[in-house]
């Protein structure tokens, strides 16, 4: 469904963000893009969302090249935006309507749903996300976790087939993180394709997805199953996702590889 072939992207034609990246994502798949800060994860997701366009290489969605030109075709634009939903890392920039309910209604009304159906969808999403009490609240008066739920809801009301989630659990309390993870898994079971960008290895473990690893040099290091990637200490060390950690046990200092997930072993 998603094919990326040898794409390159650089900011200001100077700072490389992605170099020669190729990957494919199948319909209904769970897929994680991992890498350290600045490795190009968000850039890759924004390219998949048709918000940035690679300076080299091809991006195909359902075998149609996604370019600035094809996204100016009315039908393809509608098809593409309906099929792909993108949840930004910073919920603040994603929430631009006056209230929570306006936020949830925005997408369905854009794709041409009538007002009644759009409202039904919005109400169902409010219930699913357990935010019915926030319905009429201005978006700037929400907490971080609430904003994330509304941001996700604003995309879900469009019923996209593919959900691109940029660092979805960043800065959320543990309970909201668990809620969000369960929701993501349930959406995948319901047939949605999930693509997550993260540097949180525990999230990849829980998602048990296929994983693409981006290096600090902005290249694709490896694509494999969660187990293949998460147990590859050398690879994770190389891409700066685990590190040597010194701490004390019974008054004695010792060091080991540390990732807050699999490698905190003694």
């Amino acid at each position: 469904m998603i094919q990326v072939r040898n794409i390159h992207y650089s900011y200001y034609q100077k700072f490389a963000a992605l170099i020669d990246v190729s990957l494919g994502i199948a319909n209904g798949e769970k897929f994680a893009v991992i890498g350290s800060n600045g490795s190009g994860k968000s850039t890759l997701l924004q390219i998949l969302a048709g918000l940035l366009f690679p300076s080299g290489g091809d991006y195909l969605f359902h075998d149609v090249a996604v370019t600035e030109s094809t996204l100016k075709e009315k039908k393809f634009l509608r098809f593409f935006r309906q099929k792909i939903g993108y949840v930004f890392q910073d919920s603040d920039i994603q929430l631009f309507c006056p209230t929570v309910i306006d936020e949830l209604l925005f997408g369905p009304l854009q794709v041409g749903l009538d007002r009644e159906e759009a409202m039904d969808r919005a109400i169902e999403i409010l219930k699913m996300l357990k935010i019915e009490n926030l319905k009429s609240r201005p978006t700037y008066m929400l907490s971080g976790g609430e904003k994330k739920r509304v941001a996700l809801g604003s995309v879900l009301t469009m019923n996209p087939n593919v959900l691109l989630l940029d660092e979805p659990t960043n800065g959320l309390d543990p309970r909201t993180q668990v809620f969000l993870m369960e929701l993501i898994l349930a959406l995948n079971e319901a047939g949605k394709t999930i693509v997550i960008a993260t540097h949180d290895l525990s999230l990849v473990g829980e998602l048990h997805s296929r994983v693409a690893v981006l290096s600090e040099e902005h290249r694709l290091e490896k694509v494999g199953t969660a187990d293949e990637i998460l147990y590859d200490e050398a690879l994770l060390l190389k891409v700066n996702l685990i590190h040597e950690h010194i701490h004390y046990h019974n008054g004695k200092a010792h060091s080991h590889l540390h990732s807050h997930y699999l490698f905190h072993k003694h």
Partner: protein
């Protein structure tokens, strides 16, 4: 959790199945505006990139450059003949070339702004109907001269020798002021320019306000571009003008709110780092002998232009 998923989310066929055609989407004025706004980053980056190169002017102490700049602006404004202005133009061209700036990009900017704010503004004074003088190129002959209020319209209207001289002088002044200003801007990091303004006794508080404003222009330009991307990601068609206006109004309110919050947070951050009402800037390295000698050469050149007839 699975049982909570609304039925409409289980329906994958609802999306439009026809993928191509249907005409093309025109780029809205909103998109054009946002693209222009995003160009601020590129512009800011270009200034930073150019100012971090190596050349004799790049390496020169920013305080000396500021003094040289002020002196040159004064000289450019004082000269009343075309020849010294033309000499200054050539001098600036030589400096830009020596600094290995991209002359095409540099002069494209200078000439466009010089044409608008120099030539176009001064152009009417070429006509004898505006400034009396010896007509060298007649354009229009009337049946007789006209008197209107305090104005005298001569029988033959045309371009005068004096008018051409005034236009050339004014256009050259604008071009020279722009090229010397861009030259300083492209060879000095913005932060250094701000600190160097200290030499002309601009108060530190004012300087910190300018530098913070400059920084936040980029921060908010970034926020606006990102918000536009977020909207684009959920936009499956063309936005109407009214809707676009509503969105812009809403975003202005949001950015205003965000500015207020950011302002409070920055103030707290300043307090937590010891701010007590008086701003103390980190001041400069010492001016080296090389800086003094280059500076003296530049200032000597400026004085030579001042006394040039």
């Amino acid at each position: 959790m699975k049982s909570n998923i609304p039925p409409f989310l289980l329906d994958s066929s609802s999306a439009s199945s026809q993928m191509r055609g249907g005409g093309r989407v025109d780029m809205s004025y909103l998109e054009k505006g946002i693209k222009g706004f995003a160009a601020l980053f590129t512009e800011g980056y270009a200034q930073w990139d150019l100012s971090s190169k190596k050349s004799f002017l790049h390496d020169l102490d920013a305080r000396i450059k500021i003094v040289f700049w002020i002196l040159m602006i004064a000289v450019i404004s004082l000269k009343r003949a075309v020849q010294p202005e033309a000499a200054i133009f050539l001098f600036t061209f030589t400096l830009a070339a020596l600094c290995r700036l991209n002359l095409i990009v540099f002069y494209k900017k200078v000439l466009v702004l010089g044409f608008v704010f120099g030539f176009l503004v001064a152009a009417p004074s070429a006509l004898n109907a505006i400034v009396p003088g010896k007509v060298i190129l007649p354009l229009l002959t009337l049946s007789r001269p006209h008197e209107f209020w305090i104005y005298h319209v001569p029988q033959i209207i045309g371009i005068t020798e004096e008018g051409i001289s005034i236009i050339s002088l004014l256009t050259l002044r604008v071009l020279n002021s722009l090229s010397i200003s861009f030259l300083i801007l492209y060879t000095t990091a913005f932060a250094d320019i701000i600190k160097a303004l200290n030499v002309i006794r601009v108060p530190d508080t004012f300087l910190i306000i300018i530098s913070m404003t400059y920084k936040y222009i980029f921060t908010f330009a970034h926020i606006v571009s990102d918000m536009h991307l977020a909207k684009k990601a959920r936009l499956a068609g063309v936005t109407g003008r009214e809707e676009a206006r509503d969105w812009i109004a809403g975003r202005i309110a949001f950015v205003f709110k965000k500015t207020q919050i950011e302002c409070d947070e920055v103030f707290k951050a300043m307090l937590s780092r010891g701010f007590s009402g008086e701003i103390k800037f980190y001041h400069y390295r010492k001016i080296t002998g090389k800086d003094w000698s280059t500076g003296l050469c530049l200032i000597a050149a400026a004085i030579a232009f001042l006394i040039m007839k």
